[in-house]
């Protein structure tokens, strides 16, 4: 069965610093997709970044980038120049190709301090 593990329940950094959130997953599939979602207090899940497993190049979206290590089954999120608005829960999620069920990690609470 596929599982997603986020080993950091909570992290706290100063504004403008860089922070890395960890995620590991377990799967026997070769084709799949990985996501990082942000959930602020408003509760809406917001897609931050997406990675296709068959692409070696790491995805980037402005201040957000990932370090995707397929062999190690690791998918970490780096947030550069962190801002107060980045304060939220961050969830790592996995979906198998040709499937529809997202498998979620337990989340990391990120606090950006002024």
């Amino acid at each position: 069965a596929q599982t997603v593990t986020q080993s950091q329940p909570e992290m706290s950094v100063q504004e403008a610093e860089t922070v890395t959130l960890s995620c590991t997953y377990d799967t026997s599939e070769n084709n799949y997709y990985l996501f990082w979602y942000k959930q602020p207090p408003s509760r809406q899940m917001i897609l931050v970044i997406r990675q296709e497993a068959y692409k070696q190049q790491n995805a980037t979206e402005n201040r957000f980038s990932v370090n995707f290590q397929k062999a190690a089954k690791s998918f970490s999120l780096k947030i550069s120049d962190s801002q107060l608005g980045d304060t939220a829960m961050y969830f790592c999620a996995y979906i198998m190709d040709s499937n529809y069920q997202l498998i979620w990690g337990a989340g990391t609470k990120l606090i950006i301090k002024p």
């Binding site: 997603v4 997709y33 996501f35 979602y37 408003s42 509760r43 809406q44 899940m45 917001i46 897609l47 997406r50 296709e52 969830f91 999620a93 979906i95 190709d97 499937n99 529809y100 069920q101 997202l102 979620w104 990690g105 337990a106 989340g107």
Partner: protein
């Protein structure tokens, strides 16, 4: 609409009461999902609709949970005879089709059973 809309935003129910939670997906989105998110946890899959057809209800925790999408747009999640363990945030998500680009989520309904 511009986004996925869920109502009510908060619901307090007495144990044993029936509740109905509404999801209004993005217009034209074929796929619709319900997730249950317990406090401090990642979301757990409940059920999946493709248009009006409920293709997967394997995540519904008991026969007290029932979901419908009669016209292929608005969906309702009904919980009969609510129990304290039903307390959670119920998230709805939609997408144009089954896809691996990530789904658009609503802000959820926080259900508290007292």
């Amino acid at each position: 609409g511009a986004g996925v809309s869920q109502s009510p935003r908060y619901k307090v129910a007495k144990r044993g009461q029936d509740v109905a939670l509404r999801c209004d997906p993005i217009s034209g989105h074929v796929s619709l999902f319900w997730y249950q998110q317990a406090l401090g946890q990642g979301p757990e899959f409940l059920t999946y609709f493709q248009n009006e057809a409920q293709l997967d209800k394997s995540g519904l925790p008991s026969d007290r949970f029932f979901a419908e999408r009669p016209e292929g747009s608005v969906s309702t999640l009904k919980i009969q005879r609510t129990q304290q363990e039903d307390s959670a945030v119920y998230l709805c998500a939609s997408s144009p089709a089954v896809n691996t680009y990530g789904y658009t989520f609503g802000s959820g309904t926080r259900l508290t059973v007292v």
